[in-house]
């Protein structure tokens, strides 16, 4: 995975993401170990331990039907996980040019 998708700062928090194999749609690793299409269902991990989580999820990706597992740093100031980069906010909430494709009906109105 591109290094820019793995920007994480010590002491921060991240969620784990991938694309679903069957349709390519973006998914997030949820509390129960399942993959959800909604970032607000994602489990939040401390950056200190996330590499191990990513390793485990990567080993399971064929069985889980996902591809391209990596971690996404999120901001600290929201109850719903919000990625810190615009790229990952677009992945999380949908293309900004098609609001009707938003992945969360109550997601942030502007990815910036």
């Amino acid at each position: 995975m591109d290094v820019r998708n793995n920007r994480r700062q010590a002491g921060g928090s991240s969620v784990v993401t991938a694309n679903r194999l069957l349709d390519g749609r973006i998914v997030w690793l949820a509390e129960d170990g399942a993959w959800s299409g909604r970032i607000d269902a994602a489990q939040v991990f401390s950056n200190d331990g996330i590499e191990a989580v990513i390793d485990t999820a990567t080993r399971r990706q064929q069985a889980d039907g996902v591809v391209g597992v990596y971690g996404v740093q999120i901001g600290d100031d929201s109850t719903t996980p919000v990625p810190v980069t615009v790229r990952e906010r677009i992945r999380a909430f949908g293309p900004t040019v098609h609001p009707e494709f938003a992945t969360l009906t109550e997601g942030p109105p502007d990815v910036r």
Binding site: R4, I26, G68, V86, R87, G94, T96
Partner: protein
């Protein structure tokens, strides 16, 4: 090139404007679809890992982008027929989110494709003689062509038959399927470059010679991280040597091109490293040593391929031009559209119409399935069922009777396709950008939409005149920003979007690379900056001067002040 072409009889009327497939072509496509169906099944079962499957799906035009799989479908030399167009509409409606995106390579992309649907989609495409082969990977990609080929009044020679010959030569070419990097060829038959020949790995300009068709050859142009205007390699390449010489050119690249650094792997870097003369010497040596008889392109083969193209019967009534003039006198909106959205035709009573895919505030190059169907219907009614995609992300109907142009325009209006902005500030090229593309650093489309909305007034657009804005969401330059009169490049600064302006680029005969104006700006400031640039141009231009001319005459300082002095 398959010898079977010569042995296969026609089974029906050939489509106007493009080559009619034969049984060999169709059998091959069928086998290829079934091969991919098996590969997908093995991927889903886990028999193939993602690393093993990725090159296989890319060979079939299937990318994994930001939100979903994206399927890029080839439209050879940008020309398709209404039957094929309707199939694209069906795919958009059935397998995607009801729209498609026409690209700067004259192809179409679908952004929301499911992997498990892809074999069925490819089978549907194959049923109308289409595919997605070589729309990805380090091979020779879709051959692009003048959108007014075979119609333009300024054309010296219709280049589409030779584009088809190059398509056949390059398709699954065993020696050129794993080049150091992707390879793009454009061909034109007009002295006025509308294909950006000087910005391609190989650019060809066909023209009549003393003893038949000849080609001027450009090499080593390109955009991307290292923009280069191609060098003129040779004049008057005889038609019979076209394939041999291109074979030699690509062989030299294949042998000496760098494979150790993806950013230095394009042929432009090799031509710079060897110098134009050094590259030419190696090509000439290869050309001299090769079995020329094997690669000779005989006139009989050219004629056989030409025979598989349908030819329009151009028989407009003698008063067609008068009737168009009358319609223009009585309908001011139509008159404005004709001024901006048509191109002179070689045949009396005919004209080429450009359908803008750049509505006010819209997404450049996008069309809904209903619009794609409408264009197919309109092409059937007005232009022999022939449809062309331009590298400017618009649609061209090549052969329209002048007395029918007003009716065509009314039909376009009903489909929401009558924007009168071709060549103007609203006719923006934009790549998909960060809204879709996994390589992008910044979004391209929202800036295009904001600019399009800001300059929506058609009278203002006409007053500003010829001004090409081109937007890329990353340095790969799919939006051709280097060649924009005003170029916009999205950059990533610590995870946030900024936009760098370049001025002075051109893709035409006066090909030039735009120069960076100053520090990158946030999105809204970028839109304001463009408005300041336009204001400065309107104040300082002389009569008839394009934005590009004013920039070249006065230099960057004036425009730099217009953007940054108030900051």
């Amino acid at each position: 090139m398959s010898a079977e072409i010569l042995a296969t009889p026609d089974t029906g009327a050939a489509p106007v404007g493009h080559y009619a497939y034969d049984q060999v072509d169709r059998a091959f496509l069928h086998d290829r679809v079934e091969q991919f169906r098996d590969q997908v099944a093995r991927r889903l079962s886990g028999a193939l890992s993602e690393d093993e499957f990725k090159p296989l799906r890319l060979m079939n035009g299937l990318y994994l982008q930001l939100h979903a799989y994206m399927l890029r479908v080839a439209i050879p030399y940008g020309i398709l027929d209404s039957r094929q167009m309707r199939e694209l509409a069906h795919i958009a409606r059935t397998y995607d989110r009801d729209y498609g995106h026409f690209t700067t390579r004259q192809n179409i992309q679908f952004n929301w494709i499911r992997l498990e649907d892809t074999p069925d989609i490819l089978a549907r495409l194959a049923a109308v003689d289409m595919h997605a082969i070589q729309t990805s990977g380090n091979c020779i990609r879709n051959i692009t062509c003048d959108q007014f080929a075979g119609a333009a009044v300024d054309e010296l020679l219709d280049p589409r038959v030779h584009a088809e010959i190059l398509r056949q030569w390059s398709t699954l070419h065993p020696e050129f399927s794993f080049l150091p990097r992707k390879f793009k060829i454009a061909i034109s038959g007009s002295p006025n470059d509308r294909v950006a020949a000087r910005f391609h790995d190989i650019g060809l300009v066909a023209k009549p010679g003393r003893h038949g068709t000849v080609f001027d050859v450009f090499v080593g142009g390109g955009m991307g991280r290292t923009p280069v205007v191609g060098v003129h390699l040779r004049d008057n390449l005889p038609e019979e040597d076209l394939l041999a010489y291109l074979e030699a050119m690509v062989r030299v690249y294949n042998e000496y091109g760098r494979r150790d650094n993806i950013y230095k792997a394009r042929i432009k870097i090799l031509v710079q490293a060897l110098s134009a003369e050094g590259y030419r010497e190696k090509v000439d040596a290869e050309f001299a040593a090769m079995d020329r008889a094997r690669y000779r392109l005989p006139p009989e083969t050219v004629a056989a391929i030409r025979a598989r193209f349908g030819t329009p019967v151009l028989d407009a009534p003698s008063d067609a031009a008068d009737r168009l003039a009358e319609a223009r006198r009585t309908d001011a909106l139509f008159d404005r559209w004709v001024r901006t959205n048509t191109h002179p035709h070689r045949a009396a009573g005919y004209i080429s119409a450009v359908v803008s895919l750049k509505p006010d505030g819209g997404i450049p190059g996008d069309a809904t399935s209903a619009q794609i169907d409408a264009i197919a219907d309109i092409a059937d009614r007005f232009s022999f069922g022939e449809i062309r995609i331009s590298h400017m992300q618009n649609i061209v109907l090549g052969h329209v009777r002048q007395d029918q142009l007003h009716a065509l325009w009314q039909e376009l209006g009903r489909a929401g396709l009558a924007s009168a902005n071709i060549g103007l500030i609203g006719d923006i090229i934009a790549c998909p950008g960060l809204d879709y593309c996994s390589l992008a650093n910044a979004r391209s489309i929202p800036i295009a939409q904001k600019l399009s909305a800001r300059f929506a007034n058609p009278a203002l657009q006409e007053r500003i005149g010829d001004l090409q804005i081109k937007i890329s969401g990353c340095i790969n330059a799919c939006g051709h920003h280097h060649a924009g009169h005003i170029g916009i490049l999205g950059v990533d600064k610590k995870g946030e979007e900024f936009f760098q302006l370049t001025l002075g680029g051109s893709a035409g005969n006066d090909a030039a690379i735009g120069q960076i104006l100053g520090p990158a700006l946030p999105e809204d400031a970028t839109v304001d900056a463009i408005a300041h640039l336009v204001d400065a141009y309107l104040v300082h231009r002389t009569d008839g001067e394009r934005f590009l001319d004013t920039y070249r005459r006065l230099g960057a300082a004036l425009f730099k002040d217009a953007v940054y002095a108030l900051a």
